[in-house]
Every structure is written in C-alpha cells, then in structure tokens.
C-alpha cells in the first residue's frame, strides 16, 4: 500500500512538431525523466516558462497523453502497464483544461451530469442532485441551464471545475485554469480553487498565479526544458531559490505582476 494518491516514476514523453515544410520535423522532449509523488490532500503547483512541457507532463499524469517511458501510478494501480482500463482510471482523475473544452451541445448541468450518468452510471435523480451540488460548490447556480456559449469565461471555467469535481475524483489536475481568461475573470476562478483547497481537495495545478500559489500551495515545482529543476515550499521560491534559473524566472514573474 502506497501513501501516494498519484505518483510519476521516471516519465519520458517526446512528440514531433511539423514545421512549415514537410521535412521540418522538430522533436520536442517535453518530459525527461520526471518523478513526482502526491499525497492525499496535497496541493502542488507547477510553474515554469511556456513551452517547457508542463502541460504535457500533466496530460501524461491523466494518461491523456501516453508516456513513452516510465510509470504512472494512481494509488496502487500502475496505469502505464498494458491492459489497464484507462477509462476507469480517468474517471478517478479530474482534469481541468486551459481552454476549458466544455461540451458545447450541453448545458452546464448536462456537462456535469454526463460523467455521473454515463461513467459512474448513477440513477437520474442522484446524478442530477450531485451535479447541482457541484455547480453550487463552484457558485455557478445561475448558469445551470445555460449553454457554454452563453457563459462568461470565468463561469465556463468554473463549470469546467465542477465537471471535474462532481464525480469525487482522487485528484484534480488543473492545466493553467486561469491563463485563457481575461484578467478580471481570473479572480472568481482563483476564489473557487481557494475554496477547494480549504476543503482539502488533492490538486496538482499548472499555474503562474503567484499570490495564489503562496497562499495555498504546500509545494511549488519549477519546471523547465522537460525537467523538474527545483522543488520546495513557496517561501523558498519567494525568498531565495537555490537554482539560478528559478531565481531569474521568479524575478521576471514578480516584476511582471507588480508592474
């Protein structure tokens, strides 16, 4: 029995990017020998330059991208072994996308209900009740019967969080949940995440929201060029990171937010 909700062991992932011309194929090493352990109730935050592979790593954790090498564990179950029912495993992992990706043909309620009805196979009433609870938890009850196109970005992302939350996953992975939103809308999403943090939800978040990180994260992970460069509590990063690269990055990002 492991103590970890989720664990990545020496994960590698490369992918090809096609350039303008056919011969231009660039191989991107997005994840190079990354290991990470997450305990129940942990809130960890991954940050680092764009294009460094943070999102790819997060998608590997959810097995939305299959790692080339290495192992992903969900509790005791190794997800990277052949023959594992990945759909069942993914049902236990909540995922929130940067660009939200709500199901456009369904209302907020329909978006949240779908997994409850079709994956967990709950009876209609119970699914509805739990979906409404989840929507209330992220404070978007006014959107219950709205379609994604009728919501603001902040409302849509909170519905996205409710969709991930409603089936009580073991962990929620959030891929830059606020970076596609207008600055004035990030606040409401951050508030929602803060509430989840208070309730002890296990979360792995890719984000550059530094004040939020300082407040809720137990551990921050500086990620660059496909590797974890430095891990430590927020105080480490805000005072004196050990590595030069983390130092540079923190200086830049703090200047940007105070300007």
């Amino acid at each position: 029995m492991t103590n970890y909700v989720m664990e990545a062991k020496n994960v590698y992932k490369t992918y090809c990017v096609k350039g303008e011309e056919k011969q231009d194929i660039k191989i991107v090493e997005a994840v190079k020998d990354v290991s990470l352990q997450i305990r129940k109730g942990d809130i960890k935050l991954i940050f680092g330059p764009s294009g460094s592979g943070k999102s790819t790593f997060l998608r590997c954790m959810a097995m939305l991208d299959i790692p080339d090498k290495g192992e992903i564990y969900l509790g005791d179950q190794c997800l990277t072994k052949p023959g594992v029912d990945l759909n069942k495993a993914r049902a236990r992992i909540g995922f929130v996308f940067q660009h939200i990706y709500l199901f456009r043909h369904l209302t907020a309620l329909g978006n949240v209900e779908l997994a409850l009805r079709q994956v967990l196979r709950l009876p209609k009433e119970e699914a509805r009740r739990r979906a409404l609870d989840a929507l209330a938890e992220v404070k978007v009850t006014e959107c219950v019967s709205k379609y994604p196109s009728q919501m603001s970005g902040g409302q849509a992302q909170r519905v996205g969080i409710a969709r991930a939350l409603a089936r009580n996953p073991d962990i929620i992975l959030l891929d830059e949940p606020t970076s596609a939103l207008d600055p004035e809308l990030t606040g409401e999403v951050i508030d929602t995440l803060r509430d989840l943090a208070k309730e002890g939800t296990t979360m792995l978040i890719v984000s550059h929201e530094m004040p939020f990180a300082k407040e809720v994260a137990e551990e921050m992970i500086f990620y660059d060029e496909g590797r974890i460069i430095e891990i430590g509590p927020p105080s480490l990063f805000f005072n004196a990171p050990n590595t030069d690269r983390a130092k540079q990055f923190m200086t830049r990002i703090i200047n940007k937010t105070t300007r």
């Binding site: 997994a115 379609y147 994604p148």
Partner: protein, 218 residues
C-alpha cells in the same frame, strides 16, 4: 388510352409518395453507412483504406449502372430481395449517399474538433461512448447545410430509378409522354414537382442547422 389532362397530372402526382419514400429511406441508409465510415476514417487510421475504397466505388460508378446491375444482375441470382425495384432503389441510392455523407460527416468531425473528444476521455468516457454522447450530437449540427443538399440530391437522383420501372414521378411523366405524345408538358410538370419537393426540405434543414449553431455558439 388517352386520359384527360387533370387525370394525367394526378397520375404523375401519385408518384410523389414513391419519390419521397425512396429518397427518405436512402437518406437514412446513407446516415447509417456514412456516420460510422466517417468516424472510422477519423479515428481508426489502420482500417480507413476500406472507407477510401468504398467511397471511390460508390462515388465513381453511375447510379444507373448500379441500379441495373443490382436489379437485373443480382436479381437473376437472388430474386429475393433484389428483383424488387423499391428495395434496389433504396439500397443503391443509400449506398451512394453513404459515400457522400461519409465525406460530409468527416468535415463535420474535423469542425467539432479533437478537443471535445479529449475532454470526453478526461471524464472517463471510452472512445466510442465519447463519439456517441459528444461527437454525434454536434456532428449533425455541423453537417448542415451539407445534409440539406444531400437530401435534395437524393430526391433528384431518385428519378434514375425509372430505368428499373418503379412508378415514381419520372417514370409516370415518361409514360404520360408516351400515351399522349405530348413531349413537353409532362416533363415541365415533373420538374415543378421536383422543385417543390427539394426546396423546402433543404431550406428547413439549413435553418435548423443555423439555429443549433447559434445555440452552441458557432
């Protein structure tokens, strides 16, 4: 046998139920064939060559050839069910429409986008349940007005079945021509009936599609 003008028109109009039922049934057959083909083409690259060949054959061979081949050719060996003009008409037009619709749906799948499928996977849906619950409802919206013109095409193509003697609008108009030696009026009348049949359905499908697109924000 020379009938009064009124009776001749009624005789032609009695072909409308045949024309409508052939085009409706073959449209549905086309959906049943085209939708899976489009998803195989998009998500099962290993066997998508089957779809390629299917489309090549049924888009490349004229309907008249297929109608005669199925009706007389297959009908000679398997009188049941092939020596039945109605069955063969629906089958041939449906097979051809399936090839067309496969391409319409493929464009729509591309339009809906992979992200919707990935979001479906992220909540624990399997690939094919994602297709059912997430893709198909959106694919139909994206497929208009393509589906509208496909239906109009089927109404028009149903005229080909006069070669196997099914009594739809075209066959009847031709018979009136033979009986009355009027070379013009029966065909002009048939043409008007075809326009009346094609226009509203394509128009309605188009409008339905636009409303749905608005609703889901496209």
């Amino acid at each position: 046998m020379v009938l009064a003008v009124e009776q001749q028109l009624i005789f032609i109009l009695e072909g409308v139920p045949y024309t409508l039922s052939i085009s409706l049934i073959s449209f549905l057959v086309g959906i049943v064939i085209g939708l899976p083909l489009a998803f195989i083409r998009s998500y099962e690259k290993d066997i998508s060559f089957v779809v390629d060949w299917y489309e090549k054959i049924f888009r490349g061979v004229p309907e008249i050839v297929l109608l005669l081949l199925f009706f007389f050719g297959l009908g000679a060996f398997f009188p049941f069910p092939f020596y039945n003009a109605f069955f063969v008409s629906c089958l041939v037009l449906g097979l051809r429409s399936g090839a067309n619709q496969s391409q319409i749906f493929r464009g729509a799948i591309h339009g809906v986008g992979d992200e919707q499928m990935i979001a479906g996977q992220s909540i624990g849906l399997s690939k094919w349940r994602g297709v059912w619950h997430i893709m198909i409802p959106q694919v139909f919206t994206f497929s208009t007005p393509g589906l509208g013109s496909e239906y109009a095409l089927l109404i028009k193509d149903s005229a080909y079945v006069y070669v196997i003697g099914l009594l739809e609008i075209m066959t009847r108009a031709n018979q009136v021509r033979i009986n009355t030696t009027d070379m013009v009026a029966p065909f002009i009348f048939a043409a008007i009936v075809y326009i009346i049949l094609t226009f509203p359905i394509a128009f309605w499908l188009d409008r339905w599609g636009n409303r749905r697109k608005k609703k889901i924000g496209l």
